[in-house]
Symmetry: D2
Subunit: 148 residues, 4 copies
């Protein structure tokens, strides 16, 4: 069963590629599963940079986008030195919550290694949940078709 590389239809996705680091492997000889969560985050950062802004800027405006949920499904392992590509897109934007989707795959063969999503809420510096700021919601929505 070789999972197909999903084409998130109509969504603007951003891809980022890098080589697997040795430190990211474990004694099984493959990439440790927790590192894909870090890669998801780096793909989010690349997504933000691609849209002319950055998460650093987001934070500088006094709100933080906290992770409220993460899920990952591991379909095939990746190994040291291998070049991997992470595709990231926005799946959904609500007033208080948003969801990013991810695929870790091989750009040449289109084999998918890991899929997943993260959900996020906005919190104020003192830790209270708040609405996602309007200008950010607009930006996020223009990059997604699944939101309404």
């Amino acid at each position: 069963m070789k999972p197909a590389l999903a084409q998130p239809k109509g969504m603007r996705s951003v891809e980022t590629s890098f080589h697997v680091r040795y430190a990211e492997t474990d004694a099984m000889g493959i990439v440790h599963h927790a590192n894909y969560i870090v890669w998801f985050e780096e793909a989010r950062s690349a997504f933000m940079r691609a849209y002319g802004t950055s998460y650093r800027q987001f934070e500088s405006e006094g709100v933080q986008l906290a992770v409220s949920e993460v899920q990952a499904r591991y379909l095939a392992p990746t190994v040291y030195d291998q070049q991997v590509t992470i595709r990231c897109w926005i799946e959904e934007v609500q007033s208080r919550k948003m969801r990013f989707g991810y695929q870790v795959f091989d750009a040449a063969s289109t084999q998918v290694f890991v899929t997943g999503y993260t959900e996020h809420i906005c919190i104020t510096p003192d830790g209270r949940v708040t609405r996602i700021p309007q200008k950010w919601r607009e930006l996020f929505k223009t990059t997604s078709q699944n939101s309404s």
Copy 2:
């Protein structure tokens, strides 16, 4: 909304406690979300040790328990130096798949910070999926009531 500390009924759970490491925090001042996945794994290790065996022994018998899925919900942050407790139990055992459940909480106040699960499959040294060895399935089942 303060989440209640679920008591996984009838299941034998194992708890492990430690202080949050500084390296586990991020620029938000709280523990980075990927580290909870590592804590889940350490709680699994403690679970195995508590049942008189260890995952290292599992591997020495020629099979590996690979993570096929992980999910975590983040309810409240944890910070550096704080003592956290991870409760781990087996939620389900099938012939080819098993699931562990987790809660990260404060042992004193019973406040829950993170909940989650991991699913696992057995793979041979050459990477094929195989049945969970009978003796391990027995061991896992005796520690769970949700399996049949």
Copy 3:
């Protein structure tokens, strides 16, 4: 050549023990060398806790103890699930700099795996180097004999 377990004479050292996490291993099947730097830091935290204070408290007083140098020598590998002990002590305290020493070893056999040190400077919230606060220097000195 089996390295001897050095007894830092006259110094008050603090030991902390834990099991090696699976995530800390790499594809060599042993603990990745960068993780010992994290263990050094956790040993420092245990040192502070043992003296009735904590690094968190240190930070809350408006100064940060930044790492200015780190060195580690790797003598023997450690593996998953193994129980390791980290001994930490203060080697030197100056007005603007201090040095911690470390040994990672097996408490039962006294085999030493890794030795190292970290040097620290004090910085203000806006990033300038400053003197180590008097009360902290006093505390540190009472736990060391190499300072003058």
Copy 4:
């Protein structure tokens, strides 16, 4: 005191660049010091790739290049999203030991953030120290002028 960007004279160095990941920061708001050790390693990987080989190939020939010592000096912090460049070169090659040098810097301003080195020994699959294979030593020497 702004450290100058050393030009390792006559040595062939390789540079690799990437954005700082959020997961690499800590509660100080800057990159955690242990992560530079991981960056050093990734720079070594880039060095090997640049010379038409890879560390993966090295391992496939039955020897492992184990880290025997690491040192890093932290001159200035780096932060999330910042683009950093790591320069890596071979400082010394002996029959049983070799040393890589590193600089983490800003490619635009040439500001140096961290400098360091790692020393390596060759070990056989069963853990014994051995000579660095002739063909690798040749390769390493052609990329360095400090060896004899």
